[in-house]
């Protein structure tokens, strides 16, 4: 039984332009699923739809999101917020804007424990200190009292990871958590997320455009193009032999140290045309209601 199950999810802009086209995917407890695709493919939009933070211009127009078997769309707004808060958390993309600059770090972590789990503040503070230690932050008591701008990007991302795991959510959505960091820090953060995920047995939906990252962290992956699922497979199968032509091209476009020139091939025009045609045909079928 998967912890997060998205079925036929459709998200549209207010003017009817589709952002997500009948997306279905599952994440089992303890599983790490990567969500890959180019910019604008709708990767982050899936995470936002699940967490109930879709931008104002976008609307969920069809499909179901089951969190722990419960259809989020049938709940009242208040109940939904509580459910999501208790079961899921977000590791955001940009650690520099993800912490409130005018509040100290400590309360920003403990707030979750107080809000979601109803803990008392001293207990929450003790737990926050443990969490900061768990994400390898030296002198956590000083960090608790610091303002976000006093800390480095890597530190802030560690804090965000700690606070994402704070209330022991069963699902974490990581929205390109390493994109805004430099390469050396990226590696540490990735290792940390992996470590935390395994220790806590959390289901992780990992949004990224970096296939190198996927191979290090995920077991399964979903490839998106223009808001449509192109391929859904295990990481092992994907790297051995991607089945879709677009996935193949995407994989071929990944830079490798061993072949710095040859590996930087862009996705060929013909593949783009083919995948665009596929999306158009899919839309046509969906409109006619004949989609299998």
């Amino acid at each position: 039984m998967s912890f997060l199950s998205i079925q036929d999810l459709t998200v549209q802009l207010k003017n009817g332009m589709p952002l997500l086209r009948h997306v279905s995917l599952d994440v089992a407890p303890g599983e790490v699923r990567a969500l890959v695709g180019e910019s604008g493919a709708g990767k982050s939009m899936i995470g936002k739809a699940v967490l109930g933070i879709l931008p104002k211009a976008a609307r969920l127009t069809g499909g179901k999101i089951l969190l722990d078997g419960e259809d989020l769309q049938t709940l009242s707004q208040k109940a939904r917020r509580q459910r999501i808060g208790a079961r899921a958390a977000l590791i955001p993309q940009d650690p520099l804007t993800a912490l409130n600059p005018s509040r100290r770090v400590g309360p920003q972590i403990t707030d979750r424990l107080v809000d979601i789990l109803g803990w008392k503040r001293p207990d929450a503070e003790k737990r926050a200190l443990e969490l900061l230690e768990e994400v390898h932050i030296q002198s956590p008591d000083r960090v608790m009292k610091a303002y976000p701008h006093e800390l480095s990007g890597g530190m802030r991302q560690r804090i965000l990871i700690a606070s994402a795991f704070a209330a022991e959510p069963k699902l974490i959505i990581a929205d390109e958590p390493t994109t805004a960091l430099d390469v050396t820090v990226q590696k540490q953060i990735l290792k940390l997320i992996r470590e935390m995920q395994q220790r806590h047995g959390t289901a992780l939906l990992f949004v990224t455009h970096d296939l190198g990252v996927v191979s290090k962290i995920a077991q399964s992956l979903t490839v998106l193009y223009a808001g449509k699922v192109i391929e859904e497979t295990t990481v092992k199968d994907f790297f051995a032999a991607p089945s879709h032509a677009y996935s193949k091209a995407l994989l071929a476009a990944t830079p490798k140290y061993t072949d710095p020139q040859g590996s930087l091939t862009p996705v060929p025009e013909s593949v783009i045309t083919a995948v665009e045609a596929e999306v158009a045909a899919f839309d046509e079928q969906a409109r006619a209601g004949t989609r299998p």
């Binding site: 936002k48 967490l51 109930g52 933070i53 104002k56 208040k78 917020r81 509580q82 999501i84 808060g85 208790a86 899921a88 958390a89 977000l90 955001p92 993309q93 940009d94 804007t97 993800a98 912490l99 409130n100 600059p101 005018s102 509040r103 920003q108 707030d111 979750r112 809000d115 979601i116 000083r142 610091a146 303002y147 701008h149 006093e150 800390l151 965000l160 606070s163 209330a167």
Partner: protein, 283 residues
């Protein structure tokens, strides 16, 4: 960490000291006006009319800053005038801030139809010429301190609403707001803990600016004799009276004008300084 950069704390700066100093002096002068005024501000002495200030020939040391054409002491009138100027600045400024900032915060954070209504309302409101609007209001409400305050609030809340709305919109798009919502915070709770503290530096800067503007508006209304009743000395009223005798007694006009100028300048400089102080990144 704090240790390295904490030492380079920015000093409050000369601007903050000077402006704060003048305003403190003014507050003290206003509070103790009855004690320190050398004369009754309303007492006329027609034999001592248009006496020049102390540094000019023919001055009477009893009238430090001279007298006006009715022989009233300019210094005493200025001290009492400071009371009204400060009351108007504080009360009107704060009320304007509360109303304007709340509406701006609601519009900028909740967006949707609430924003639509508030924004159109602001647009329409701002289309009225402010001074004319104020004069019209006073004409309807009648003169008096309350009317002046109401007029300032009614004219100027849009300033806050506009700026705070834009700021709140920017803050609302930040990741930490989304994070707070994912963590189960209510919309209202998010507005209070995530948006408001980050808009606060702007609100503070605007508030002090508004206090300066309130002093000016009060002076303008006094100038056209629509402020507080004429038997209460106000800076604007003094300027209006001084205007008629500018060639014979310039001091009646210049001293209150100078006080007005310094006060408005101090308010705006204080705002600049406080904005930096409230900004966690610059703190």
């Amino acid at each position: 960490m704090r240790d390295a950069r904490g030492n380079i704390r920015r000093l409050p700066g000369i601007r903050l000291w000077l402006s704060g100093g003048w305003l403190t002096f003014l507050v003290l002068a206003a509070i103790f006006a009855p004690l320190i005024s050398p004369h009754d501000p309303l007492a006329q002495d027609l034999f001592a009319g248009r006496l020049p200030p102390f540094f000019e020939q023919g001055a009477d040391p009893a009238y430090l800053l001279g007298t006006d054409s009715l022989g009233r002491d300019v210094l005493s009138r200025m001290l009492y005038g400071a009371r009204l100027a400060l009351i108007v600045a504080l009360v009107a400024g704060t009320l304007t801030c509360l109303i304007g900032a709340s509406l701006g915060l609601i519009a900028g954070y909740y967006r949707g139809w609430v924003d639509l209504v508030i924004s159109r309302f602001i647009d329409i409101w701002m289309a009225f010429p402010p001074v004319l609007f104020a004069i019209l209001l006073i004409a309807v409400l009648g003169t008096g301190l309350m009317s002046v305050i109401i007029a300032i609030v009614v004219i100027d809340w849009t300033r806050f609403a506009r700026v705070v709305r834009a700021e709140a919109m920017g803050q609302g798009a930040m990741d930490y707001v989304a994070s707070a919502q994912v963590a189960g915070r209510t919309r209202f709770g998010t507005a209070l803990t995530e948006i408001l503290p980050n808009v606060l530096p702007t609100i503070v800067a605007l508030l002090t600016l508004e206090m300066g503007i309130a002093v000016i508006v009060e002076a303008i209304l006094s100038f056209v004799n629509l402020s507080i009743s004429t038997d209460q000395p106000t800076w604007g009223g003094m300027i209006a009276e001084g205007r008629t005798s500018i060639y014979q007694a310039w001091w009646v006009l210049v001293f209150p004008l100078f006080a007005l100028f310094l006060t408005v300048l101090s308010f705006s400089q204080l705002g600049e300084g406080l904005k930096d102080h409230f900004d966690p990144v610059l703190r």
